[in-house]
Amino acid sequence: MTINATLTTCPYCGTGCNFYLLADNGQLTGVAPAADHPVSRGQLCVKGWNAHAFVDHPARLTQPLIRRGGEFQPAAWDDALDLVHSRLSRLAAQHGPDSLMFFSSAKVSNEENYLLMKLARAGYGTNNIDHCARLCHASTVTGLAETLGSGAMTNSLSCFDVTELILVIGSNTTEQHPLIGSRILQAVERGARLIVADGRRIRLAQHADLHLRGTNGSDVALLCGMARVILDEGLEDRAFIESRCENFDAFRTSLAAFDLQRVAALTGLGEEEIRAAARLYAGAERAMIVYAMGITQHSHGVDNVRAVSNLALLTGNLGRPGTGINPLRGQNNVQGACDMGALPNVYTGYQKVEDSLIRRKFSAAWGTRLPEIPGMMATHAIEAAAQGKIKGMLILGENPMLSEANQGLVKRALEKLEFLAVIDIFPTETAQLATLVLPAACYAERDGSYTSTERRVQRGRQAVAPPGEARTDWQILCALLQRCGLAADYADPAAIMDEIATLTPSYGGISYARLEGDSVQWPCPDAGHPGTPILHRAQCTRGKGRFSPLSYRPSVELPDASYPLLLNTGRSYFHWHTGSMTRRSHLLEREEHEVQLEIHPEDALALKINPRQMVQVRSRRGCISARALLTERVPRGQVFLPFHFAEGAANALTNNVLDPEAGIPEFKVCAVRVTPC
């Protein structure tokens, strides 16, 4: 019998908890939180405590599968890899490289994201690479890059221990980033003030000084209204605005449209509530804004982010401990996937594809010519595939069939592809549509590094062997790179990180040797640099913080007579995204094994829906069944669905209307009709 304990990073949310995976005879038996880790501090959430559970699930993919005559048949690795390469290169030759699309994954390591990015650009000559950040924080990456110069969380989780006030807007933190949520609860316990702006009565709301239950989609109005109050009452930080910001006058002028009366009407909030929130926020010496999908997943997601940024700039809540703009990244490596350039317009470290100097640098390093025009966003690629413009796709560890808006469209798009290769750990709904499926090692079976929401780069380590013939993603990607004629003889992920460091200023000082000790927060330009817990200290990354004049745009599809309820979607506490892991983790699936529609009891009464009754939820795009959960957690007129359940896919209903700049769908607002079954 051999027992071992392997320190690694949790595969679920972006908080970045570390734990020991406990194995007995090569089988995982449990999890123990890392007591000394600055984020976990000996604690985990329920998903972390059960993070070992899916690893040895019988449904794991264990051999390459090729579809022949409608059926998947096992294949040899070399044959499968040859097929991927020959089909992708043939499509590229016939229809141009931009007929290909590559989906990377916020679940795989930095090194693996880097390799797929390299494969798309250097191997197949297209910038068509993207990943699920498009669906979560694309608005942040676009918005904050514009206003501050860096699309990442400005501060650190330790800042919750010193802040005076926390404004949580559009983040159900105790459920979605539980160990960050618990820090907020502890901050409140020691006397920090808490404002929660969320239509739903989330757990944090029970502890808030102020709970603003505004209408979904009215955040620009709320935030601009608060800014207006702050200016009207002279609560702004003049010195900060003058020395650190630009474009203030245009911003101030734009606020003329946001008088309190109008803002109250748009948000459904009382004028006094908005005034109180503004005074509380502006009155704090150190105030943090925490936000997540409630801000970003709108057709005006980037405007929402700009409005958040305006508020922080206006009050000088930036660049100091206990302040900042703190977008909470959803996946354990969604920050890293963005950092690694798994995005259509940038290489690693947000170095622009359009910049010829940058392009020349990567071109020289990789020894090949690189495409000049930014590529296609994931959401646009789905539309393009449905139109027949994208012909071939390689999807690494993503499940757009459940995660993208408007499932009907996604299905049409994927079915229309001439070639679809999927690399994953389970036979997901997306893999079911593939031409070819490659079995991958999961987080517990590979080495790598991950970057958490606070830009903390840390190690994942292999605890057990992959099942059957499954291989690590980096090995699979190296094999494909070699088939493209590129050098890819990395000995291990550490060697890949060394290459990343040479090409990426913000990761310049990061190496596996360094990550063996404490983790490090980027930017970390050189080996001697201590890392950067707080961004924008003396000045913003872009120089001056830029104010953004805004106008209010309503959500695209609001309730009407035919579809009278507003559908809000998101995650539940016990499941993770498309459920491929958590629904195969016994305790988590036992706790929540079916899709439940949160509906206000008064709405249910009016619709003659009993507690726990099965209902039909219909939008203009689709229809699903769900069990009614009567709860005052949702306000009247709003219903909520988690998107984890294939048998009741919330994204069969959602609206694929996109933010024009960030390309993020409006997951948080569409109109539905609910009827008892």
Binding site: Y20, C45, V46
Partner: protein
């Protein structure tokens, strides 16, 4: 009779034990973290924070195979370990936790899955100056085969079973060793948390804790279930079936009474249907139900749940509030 050992003697003793047992000893993979690892190890962590995972996990791990069902309805039981386990470095609270589970799982009908690993296992306590930064931990005084009492640069060996005496037999006697003041010091250390638990238990029995208190605590609970995961006496489990080829592996997984589905029935009915009821259950079960059924608290005062709770509502924190407010 007390024996005496220094570090070389200890290593020698452990080597001898490892020849007959599957020995696990504490190691410190990182500051603040101590866990049991298979012998041999480069360095034994002879003092430090409580072991994680809880040592009871050696016999009742988070995931444990119960049996395998064949396609022909045959039943195959897990094979017993080739050699019995020996666990070294168990604190008094750890040993009490194991004793609690021993009694629980041996109550008729005895749990064969637990006993398969527990049978013949050798338990070696560690007490004295072996806590965090060599803080004094109370003497075990039993529930193990022998204990080592950390004393200056060495240890006193104290047998509690004939098997323990056998392992210590060749060591020299600790001349003039006297446990009197160590016993007194231990009693004081043990008494303080016991008093707190007793006061809280009394308030619970007297129904002096209002629902409002449990609602308030429940509002702070983020349902991580860590308190249950780390508690050495928590023994609730759920059962899952996993298809392996044509066989089905049936295994148990640590459960948590803080989860809604813990008692929820297929009809949706739930006798523990609110977070407040479940929070009360967590404490009431340890402090009132367990003493009533098993004759002692289901809390061994190890402090693990307080350390594992992200929002500060472990059993001590909660009992302190409870006593402060309702005494």
């Amino acid at each position: 009779m007390l024996k005496t050992l220094d570090l070389p003697a200890l290593r020698q003793l452990l080597c001898a034990i490892a020849a007959e047992f599957e020995l696990r000893v504490p190691v410190q993979p990182a500051p603040g973290m101590r866990l049991l690892a298979p012998w041999p190890v480069a360095e034994i962590a002879l003092f430090g924070p409580p072991l994680q995972p809880k040592p009871t996990a050696a016999f009742f791990p988070q995931t444990q195979t119960l049996l395998t069902l064949g396609a022909d309805a045959s039943v195959e039981l897990p094979s017993p370990p080739v050699r019995p386990l020996a666990l070294f470095g168990l604190a008094r609270a750890d040993l009490q936790g194991i004793a609690f589970l021993d009694r629980f799982f041996s109550a008729p009908p005895a749990d064969d899955v637990y006993q398969r690993l527990r049978r013949d296992a050798l338990l070696i306590g560690l007490s004295g100056n072996c806590g965090t930064e060599r803080k004094f931990l109370p003497l075990a005084g039993g529930h193990c085969d022998f204990e080592l009492i950390a004393q200056g640069t060495g240890w006193w060996g104290r047998a509690h079973t004939p098997r323990g005496a056998h392992w210590l037999r060749e060591l020299p006697a600790a001349e003039g060793a006297d446990l009197t003041w160590l016993n007194e010091k231990s009693a004081q250390l043990i008494d303080e948390p016991q008093q707190l638990l007793a006061r809280a238990a009394k308030l619970l029995v007297q129904e002096r804790v209002p629902e409002e208190f449990w609602r308030e605590i429940a509002a702070r609970c983020i349902l991580c279930c860590g308190c249950n995961q780390v508690c050495p006496t928590c023994n609730c489990f759920c059962v899952e079936d996993q298809l392996r080829g044509t066989n089905v592996e049936r295994r148990r997984v640590w459960d948590s009474c803080q989860l809604d589905a813990f008692m929820r029935e297929a009809s949706g009915h739930n006798p523990l249907g609110t977070e407040a009821l479940r929070t009360r259950r967590r404490i009431f079960h340890k402090l009132v139900a367990d003493p009533q059924r098993w004759g002692e608290y289901g809390c061994v005062a190890c402090g693990r749940c307080d350390a594992a709770c992200p929002t500060g509502i472990g059993i001590f924190a909660l009992c302190e509030q409870l006593v402060a407010r309702y005494s």
